[in-house]
Symmetry: C2
Subunit: 214 residues, 2 copies
DNA sequence: CGGTGAATAGACAGACCTGTTCGTTTTTGT
DNA sequence: ACAAAAACGAACAGGTCTGTCTATTCACCG
């Protein structure tokens, strides 16, 4: 109770989570508290009162900002996804080199994410696992998030002059999801290295048969 | 209410789920109903009364067999894992050929799993997503399940005369988890094909540098 | 037939959860 | 400084959840 959630991300360098951003008004306090609790303890398992206690906010204030818990969940997922993507793609934009370098750097960035003490898996993967049937807003939010990722992957594949751009994106999606789940379950960030090695083999196999840039 | 859960698996050929096995006494009816509901609608989202209604069982009977809902969840996960592994490894044992053939066949079997209408992702992945913090029994059940899988993968890697057996198992774990999650989210079983292609490249890379069997 | 153990229906307790309401206090903009 | 807006505390309503208990009925088996 006495500590905020700054210790989730002490130096701010890994501010991929919405919960780690500074707060001012009640709405942001609510979002931060809800983000932290939803991502760490699950969506259904987190009650409104727990969120209110952490945010130090009155219940009426929550329901002035959000019509229901479901709407709060949707807002949290959207904000969490946006913050994560800014962090993730921002890191990748700093990579100097070719599209191949950026695609391989994906797994360096992922490993940093996995190593963060506040890592409890991808919120979207976890949310879909919980709400697969019944909550369409959650599933749509997850689809949107994955679409953004796929779009970025396809852009890299185009720059690679890959023959089948969609297939490249699908293969990387498998590697990324697999690394996330394996790291989450084993609490071992170095699964990112295994995924990276597989990605390198895959990229090699793309270049070799066609050798269109020679 | 009028239909049982036989339509989950009409011909019985895909009886990977405990919920699809025939029932006799009340305990098995409860396990079947709980399996189905937990795997399809989530663990926290499924109430005791819903399970009782589906199993056509009195509440006292449930609490005569299981001390609590948590214990029921643990029992369901254990049974579900056991049934799934029997089905999965049984299918793979029928594959004629080398360890390489069996390792690639993993993704054929996975694709059949993904294509089943009763597929809602891996129950263990979903359970860990829901109970990551707090429920140790669930996490231990998931670890045990993954251990069985890793053991099998390592056995194949040994037969392959791979240099680093553990690394082979880790790489396949990434591919399997990734295929499961990607297929679950997109409802597209063919992600198994992408994982399979990556696995084939990986196995090729193992054989090429050492060529120890020449 | 009779007895034993298990399953049944159903009411109940107690806790928890979401969401509402109301009067008061604090903050904020001008 | 003043007025409007927002947040506060706290109680309350209605529902649902897990788990307990009781009294009755069923099934099996000697």
């Amino acid at each position: 109770m006495e500590d905020g959630l700054q210790n989730l991300c002490p130096n701010g360098s890994l501010s991929w989570s919405f919960a780690a951003r500074p707060s001012k008004n009640a709405r942001e306090r609510l979002m931060r508290a809800a983000s932290y609790l939803f991502c760490n303890h699950g969506f259904a398992a987190t009650g409104i009162d727990t969120i209110l206690a952490r945010a130090e906010t009155a219940k009426a204030t929550l329901y002035n900002h959000f019509a229901s818990k479901e709407e709060l969940i949707a807002a949290v997922l959207q904000a969490e996804g946006e913050t994560w993507r800014e962090w993730f793609f921002g890191r990748l934009a700093q990579v100097e080199g070719s599209a191949r370098d950026r695609l391989l750097a994906v797994f360096d960035v992922l490993q940093d994410w996995f190593a963060d003490p506040g890592f409890y898996g991808c919120p979207f993967i976890n949310a879909v696992a919980e709400f697969d049937t019944g909550n369409d807003a959650v599933r749509r939010a997850a689809e949107l998030h994955k679409e953004h990722l796929i779009t970025w992957l396809k852009a890299q594949a185009i720059e690679l002059q890959a023959r089948d751009v969609a297939e490249v994106a699908r293969s990387f999606a498998v590697l990324i999801d697999g690394a996330i789940v394996a790291a989450q379950h084993s609490r071992d960030p170095s699964f990112a290295r295994n995924a990276q090695a597989l990605a390198a083999l895959y990229l090699d196999s793309l270049g070799a048969p066609s050798s269109r840039n020679g």
